[in-house]
């Protein structure tokens, strides 16, 4: 069990002055998994990552990465991890290739290995053509790719990605997702933070939801979604009369009613039998239904219902 967990925190705390940013966070990330820390701005995601990446000292609690304590054995932790932050941590005045070479030297890779890794990463991240250009001429997506390429030089065991797609256009975001999937397939453990539910849904094996410095939910994307009401049926009624009749029939049990679009959302167990009963009920009363849609709650629904109440 313990050998399986590569990142573990217990009761992690951090405050800036009187503002408590982390109020006791317990996390366990399995080796080889993609873990997403999901939360709105200011939830404490970046602070958590910075503590795990040894850039910041926690005020309390413990954190271990790859079997080493991040405070007392930070040098050892640094040899096992890489961090790609919200802002591309690359040297703007140097070229893409020079950035890779420089970090390769600082990682103390032998010359031949440095060359080989640089070349391969430039290819992997589609930066061969831009390799000789100064980074300040790169687009946001290219910078982010270079930043990630640089962080992979040493082939780290744990890759921290702090909001890897914030500020990217949809195309670059898709590219980045593909990169993350490839990395995960390569066997690395990926710890990513995001404020996009879709991103966590697409990428992560396990999601922890952070809000105001506390974990408020944890599980797979499916588990989080079903922690809300299960399946829903959305009824689109033929006309205003049918809408009125249907509203009376369900008598306040509808999860959502929209008079303008003449639609009602009703909870169901998602089975064919359940839906048939519902439709029979309507047919018996001659309530005309134009069409129905089966709907699962999105992660957004789960997220809003988890965090919304307290704001």
């Amino acid at each position: 069990m313990t050998t399986d967990v590569i990142v573990r925190t217990t009761g992690l705390r951090k405050s800036y002055g009187k503002t408590e940013v982390l109020a006791g966070v317990d996390l366990a990330v399995r080796r080889g998994s993609v873990f997403a820390l999901l939360g709105p701005n200011g939830a404490g995601k970046t602070t958590t990552v910075r503590i795990l990446a040894t850039l910041l000292r926690a005020d309390g609690g413990r954190a271990e990465v790859a079997g080493h304590d991040v405070t007392t054995e930070s040098a050892k932790v640094r040899t096992k991890i890489s961090l790609t932050g919200q802002y591309a941590a690359v040297d703007e005045l140097l070229t893409g290739e020079e950035n890779l070479q420089m970090i390769g030297k600082l990682l103390h890779l032998p010359r031949a290995r440095r060359r080989e890794r640089t070349q391969r990463l430039l290819e992997q991240f589609d930066l061969v053509e831009a390799a000789g250009r100064a980074v300040k001429t790169y687009s946001g997506g290219m910078r982010r790719r270079l930043d990630l390429a640089v962080s992979l030089l040493a082939q780290p065991e744990v890759i921290f990605l702090d909001e890897p797609t914030t500020g990217l256009d949809p195309r670059s975001r898709q590219d980045m997702w593909q990169v993350v999937r490839d990395l995960a397939r390569g066997g690395a453990t990926i710890f990513l933070t995001t404020q996009y539910l879709e991103e966590a849904d697409q990428l992560a094996d396990h999601i922890a939801v952070l809000d105001n410095g506390r974990l408020i939910a944890e599980g797979t994307a499916d588990q989080l979604k079903s922690s809300l009401a299960g399946e829903q049926v959305e009824l689109h009624l033929a006309d205003a009369v049918a809408y009125d009749l249907a509203t009376r029939l369900f008598n306040g049990t509808a999860l959502h009613a929209d008079a303008e679009r003449r639609s009602l959302r009703i909870a169901t167990d998602g089975s064919a039998a359940g839906v048939r009963l519902l439709l029979n009920d309507l047919a018996d009363r001659a309530i005309a239904v134009e069409k129905i849609t089966l709907r699962r709650p999105t992660l957004d629904d789960a997220f809003l219902s988890l965090t919304g109440g307290k704001r």
Binding site: L55, M102, V150
Partner: protein
């Protein structure tokens, strides 16, 4: 032993980075050379005749111009340091298994190179304008050593300023001090010609003994206790700022 080897290797890598920056921002290098050269030409050809006669004045003013040039160029270090702090590249360096002070050492080493180039160019222009040093080889060597001490002290001072500044513009403001201080010294006119209060400042600020030492070494004017005073001043500034930079670096990055 390997620790020392890697610490040096990391600093060399960082110095290489600083030198590359230099070649990528030729315009700022030119500014830091052009400004002192223009100032020298203004003082020699416009004010020189009125102050002491052109030929005599060029020999008087060049050591001050060289220090002005080095002071100005050293303080450019502040901008580079601040840029590293605000752009996130520092997080990359800090998450590597390296000694993070090599980032700062690299900036200072690059500053020494930059100043060496600038000083040689300024001296060449000075010779064309009529500067005639009469220093022996040993005196040139000593002048180089004093200049190195000055550049190191000013660069580490600039590192501290860069670590304190919130953004690159604020860091750039620091160069103003470096540009202004030499005017309040014996760089352009002997301090005896200044009003009493001003003279008090000029005589006792660190740049004056440094200038007097350089003038003595290059032109054979009396040095007196200026050499020891400047070693004490700039040695002191160097030690304080070097140690201070370590503390400020920790504080700046512990957020």
């Amino acid at each position: 032993m390997t620790t020392v080897y890697w610490a040096i290797s990391d600093s060399v890598t960082m110095t290489g980075r600083g030198l590359r920056h230099l070649t990528r921002s030729i315009d700022s290098l030119l500014t830091s050379i052009m400004l002192p050269v223009l100032l020298m030409l203004v003082f020699v050809y416009i004010f020189g005749g009125a102050i002491a006669g052109r030929d005599a004045y060029v020999n008087y003013v060049v050591p001050g111009i060289v220090l002005l040039c080095c002071g100005y160029s050293s303080t450019a270090t502040a901008v580079g340091v601040t840029n590293d702090m605000v752009t996130g590249v520092i997080d990359r360096f800090r998450s590597l298994p390296i000694h993070s002070s090599s980032v700062l050492t690299g900036h200072v080493a690059a500053s020494v190179f930059r100043n060496a180039i600038a000083t040689v160019l300024v001296l060449l222009v000075a010779v064309v304008a009529g500067f005639r040093p009469n220093a022996s080889a040993l005196e040139w060597l000593a002048a180089g050593a004093f200049l190195l001490l000055f550049v190191l002290a000013m660069s580490w001072l600039a590192v501290c300023a860069g670590l304190l500044a919130r953004n690159a513009d604020a860091a750039g403001g620091f160069t103003f001090i470096a540009l202004f201080l030499p005017y309040l010294s014996s760089a352009f006119v002997p301090t005896e010609t200044m009003p009493k209060a001003l003279r008090g400042i000029a005589d006792h600020q660190p740049i004056t003994p440094m200038i007097e030492t350089m003038r003595g070494l290059l032109r054979g004017t009396p040095i007196g206790d200026s050499a020891w005073l400047s070693v004490a001043w700039f040695g002191g500034i160097l030690v304080v700022c070097y140690l201070g930079a370590g503390v400020l670096f920790k504080r700046r990055t512990a957020r």
